[in-house]
Each structure stands twice: as C-alpha cells, then as structure tokens.
C-alpha cells in the first residue's frame, strides 16, 4: 500500500537583503492590473521572468523509525516480530538557501523552478528496550540535502493589498530530493511534492524587484525500498528581480 509521508510546514519570516520596500523608498505607484497592454513592462505581465535568491529555515520533523526485530519462537500462525528496541529518528531544523526562476504564463499563473540546500541532523531516540529504559537522544548522522522542484504559482491579485504592491499567492508543485549522509556514500532519493503560498511585495517605481515570503509544506513519496520520509520543510524569504 502506498502511503504519503507527511512532513511539516510552518511559517516563519526571514530577514533579507536590500532591494526591498524598506526605508526611504519613494511611494510606489499602483501596479498595473488587468489585461496586458501593448508595450507592457509591468512585473505581472505574461512572459515576465522572475529571479530570486532565498534564505530560510527548514523545520525538522519525525522520520520513519526502525525496530531491531527478532523472530519469535512460535510455530503455526505467524506472529509479529519481537522488537529488541526501536529507534525513532527526527530530522532537525536547519538553515536553508536556494534560488528560483519563474516565468509568468498569464497575469494569474506562473511556472517556477527552485533549488534548495540545507544540512540538517538526524537525531535518534531509543525506546522499547527493557534493559535500557532511559537512553538520552543523540545525533545519529548529519546529512546534506538538495532538492529541486517545479511549482505552479497562482497570484491572488484580487487579494492584493498595500496599494496593490503586496500580492498573495498560492503554490503547488513537485520535484526531487537527494540526501547524502555525511561520512557515507549513502544517498537517499525521492520524489517530493509541495503545497503552500506566500506574499510578494513589489517595490520600486515599476515593481521590478521586491521581497517575498514563502511557506511550503513538503510531502515525500516513499521510494520502492519503502524508505520513508527523510524530507521536510520550510519557510523562506527572498529578494526577487523581474525582467
């Protein structure tokens, strides 16, 4: 049976660079809305390209645990294996960086690709060992994690605020994740899917740069070896530029 592994999501903000709506910038003009006009240079026009770099935080979560299973000494009907102990594994939160490139399909919809890099830890908790009931949690491994995905962005222009300069959006997409366990050649790969959203805040006279906040929940589809989750995530703040 195929199961979805739920990883987390949450929100956070991020402190980011310059090029934003911050201090002292002249009051921006309302962004053009509606159908694209000939010679349209607005950031929301079809075929506009948006580049962004982001920094954020991956939020850890429980991964699939594992039990040290013994074969019971039974005959006849099989019984569940006997666990000698069970290890629970949690991926810790960690800083993440990455970049995105997107292109507007229409004023409402854009297609966006992203890559992200982070280095979380795997923490182990031992349970179920009657001979060792209180084993403190410890670091099991450190991992390097890369992910890449493509998402559809839906701009909710009707919910824009701040004189039309802050535009909420929804996002959903899918991609690929690779984790490399430090000290080993072991790689853990899998498909990931994300859903979430955020807000883009356009700045400048024509709104060709700005700041955005994303919050995404990532789901990982277990691979054929039934290795479960090992993916998680995330929140990030970005600066972006529109061409």
């Amino acid at each position: 049976m195929r199961r979805w592994q739920r990883s987390l999501a949450a929100g956070a903000t991020c402190v980011l660079l310059t090029a934003s709506v911050a201090a002292g910038a002249p009051a921006p003009q309302p962004l053009p809305t509606g159908r694209a006009a000939r010679g349209d240079r607005s950031p929301g026009r079809p075929h506009a390209i948006e580049l962004s770099a982001f920094a954020g935080w991956t939020i850890g979560g429980a991964l699939a645990g594992q039990s040290a299973l013994l074969t019971r000494d039974v005959t006849g009907s099989p019984e569940p294996a006997l666990p000698l102990f069970t290890v629970g594994i949690k991926q810790t939160g960690a800083p993440a960086v990455g970049g995105r490139i997107g292109g507007n399909l229409t004023r409402e919809f854009a297609l966006e690709g992203a890559v992200m890099y982070t280095r979380p830890e795997l923490r182990a908790t031992i349970s179920g060992d009657s001979a060792a009931p209180n084993v403190p949690a410890f670091t099991l491994a450190r991992v390097v994690q890369w992910s890449g995905d493509i998402s559809v962005i839906a701009h909710l222009s009707s919910l824009a605020f701040a004189n039309g300069h802050a535009v909420p959006f929804l996002a959903a997409g899918g991609g690929y994740l690779r984790q490399i366990v430090s000290g080993s050649t072991e790689t853990i790969d899998g498909q990931i899917y994300n859903v979430g959203g955020g807000v883009k805040v356009y700045s400048g006279p024509e709104g060709h740069q700005g700041f955005r906040v994303d919050a995404r929940e990532y789901l990982r589809r277990p691979g054929p070896d039934q290795d479960a989750t090992r993916a998680n995530f995330s929140v990030a703040g970005s600066v972006f530029f529109v061409f």
């Binding site: 074969t71 000494d73 102990f85």
Partner: protein
C-alpha cells in the same frame, strides 16, 4: 518434550592436528585456536569441501530426506552472493559421522550413551590443520542426535525438530562460524532456557519443534560467512566499525555488540575478543547505525568462548553508543568506544 536443546560445538584431538572452540579475531565469532606461538588461527576451508551423508534415516526422516535437508542447509550458505564458498555432495556413506577418517561425514547417531549430550540436537567436530602456512580445516563431521523426533516437512511438524534448520546451524559451524548471540531467552523453572526470539541462525539455542525459521539465513549469518569467505566485492561494498568496550577503564572481554542499520533494520553482531575489549563488526551495508552493547549474562558464555580462555564479563548493563555511526562502503569507522557500568 519439555526440555530445551542446545546444539553445541565439540571437538576431538589428533596428534598432528588441533581442535578449537569458537573464538573471534576479526569479525564474527569463528572457529579458531591458538597455535603454539599463541597466535589465533582461524579455521576455514582452503578448497571447496566434499561432504558425505550417512545412509541411515530415523523415524520420520528417510535417507533421501536426510540428504535433501543437508543439501538445503549447504545451499543456504553457499548461495550467499557476497561469499565465495561452495561444497560438494560426495554421496552416501556407512561411516560413523564422529570418527577421524579423512571424510566429512554428516548423519544421525545415537547420543544417549554420551554423558552431557542428552540435550544436544547436534554438534560439529572439526580438525584444523596448522602444520602449514595456511591453516585450514582438515576434516569436519556433523552429528545429529537420533534420539530426538525429526521432520523435514517444509511447513514444520509440531513436536518434531526441523532437520534442515538444525543442519543449517551445524553447517555454519562446518564452514567455520562460531555462535552469535542476537536473541532473547527466558529461564524456565528447571533452569533451562527458552528462546523468546532470535535473529541469527547461529544462536546457540534452537527454536522449538515445528519451527522452520532457521532454514533462512539472517543478515548476521550472511555477514559472518561473507567475512570468512569474502567474494571479490564484499570488502568494497560493505564497511565495518571497530572500537572497544571498557568498564572502569579496563577492557571488557566477551561483550556482545550489535549494530542495527537504521534504514533496513538489519542486525549484525560480534564480541569484544581481547583483554583491551576490542571488537570489529564487518559486513555492514553503508549508512547510519545504532550500536548496542550487552553482556552474555542470559546465556552460557562457554557456548561462545573457550572456557580455558579469559573470563567473560557478564556484569554490566545494556549500553548504547551515543554518537553518529555512519558506515562507508569499503571503509572502517574506528573508535566506536563504549563505556559500560556494572549492574
């Protein structure tokens, strides 16, 4: 049948050849001895052995079924992809299985007249030639106790021991493996031990009659046979961990160390095998591991180590290594050192 049965290793002596109990030198307990110079010598076959099966069945087991069960046991070990060992069936023989005749003989024998063997399902004798630069098995025999009820039914028969399961265990000894301790036991009122669960064919106590689980090797068994007879890729595709087990600054002899792959759950174990408490566990697939150390306090240490050797320390509690253990392919993770405390 109310009592439990303990297959065990025994030995016999020859002037030119030496016998030994299971000791460990590298990874996994192996059949070994100390030679005259005090060097630990591992017993392996230097060429594929030929074995013969006695032409004597027992109630419930025909000669043909005996041959089939023994061949099934050999197949389990020789089909391990990461091991390079084979064996040849030489045919039937009327030779008694437990005699020095330069033939490797496997068969039933009436052990009722042998003191101390009443509870023994089977045992393996071996002669180890140490008079060459490459110590090797010279002759190995397996005796199966004809006084127990046996079955070769693949589904198992209640009240009857599965011959192929017991043969598979003894053939592990035949190949050079000692015992492994991945299992839980409970003590009965009469002092005998019941297996609650185990995860190695080479556990020194058999499953109950009717259980056929020991026909199939576990990762622990696979690692052991592969370490003895490594296929060309074994050392490059798997890794190892090493370290010490100490108590109050002193090395612990005979501690059981189990490594669990956190991705697959595979369990592979070994023991600390010297006065410094040193151990090595080989044959580990790359990835993160949990390392658990336990004493042999529930089992008979003489099932694992030569009673004439160092005393086995059984007075400490279960302890985990509390740090990252990530095994690389083809490499060793050193200094996985565990400090245990007295119970």
């Amino acid at each position: 049948m109310t009592h439990r049965v303990r297959p065990r290793v025994a030995g016999f002596v020859c002037l030119l050849l030496l016998i030994g109990m299971a000791r460990s030198s590298d990874a996994y307990l192996k059949t070994s001895i100390e030679d005259d110079a005090g060097t630990l010598v591992i017993g392996t076959w230097d060429s594929p052995p030929t074995y013969y099966v006695t032409a004597q069945g027992v109630p419930g087991v025909s000669v043909a079924a005996l041959v089939s069960a023994v061949q099934g046991g050999f197949d389990a070990w020789t089909s391990v992809a990461s091991a390079n060992i084979s064996a040849t069936y030489g045919g039937l023989t009327n030779a008694f299985p437990d005699q020095v005749d330069h033939q490797n003989v496997i068969g039933f024998a009436d052990l009722s007249g042998m003191p101390g063997f009443e509870d023994t399902l089977g045992f393996t004798d071996y002669l180890l030639a140490t008079d060459s630069t490459s110590p090797h098995f010279f002759e190995t025999d397996i005796v199966l106790n004809a006084n127990f009820p046996w079955s070769t039914d693949p589904a198992g028969v209640p009240g009857r021991y599965d011959l192929q399961s017991i043969a598979t265990h003894e053939i592990g000894h035949f190949m050079g493996l000692g015992h492994s301790a991945i299992g839980l036991v409970q003590t009965r009122a009469d002092g005998s031990l019941d297996v609650v669960g185990k995860r190695t064919v080479m556990f020194p106590i058999a499953f109950t009659p009717g259980n056929v689980s020991d026909r199939v090797l576990t990762p622990d068994d696979v690692a052991g046979i592969s370490d003895l007879y490594p296929a060309s890729t074994f050392r490059t595709e798997t890794g190892s961990i090493s370290g010490t087990v100490t108590e109050n600054g002193q090395g612990v002899f005979g501690a059981q160390i189990v490594a669990m792959n956190t991705r697959t759950g595979a369990l592979i174990s070994n023991f600390s095998i010297d006065q410094q408490g040193s151990y090595v566990i080989a044959g580990l697939s790359p990835g993160p591991y949990i390392v658990r150390v336990e004493s042999l306090d529930q089992l008979d240490p003489s099932s694992f180590f030569d009673p004439a050797g160092p005393a086995v320390d059984t007075d400490f509690g279960v302890t985990y290594f509390s740090g990252p253990v990530v095994v690389p392919a083809g490499g060793n993770v050193p200094n996985i050192n565990v400090t245990v405390t007295a119970q």
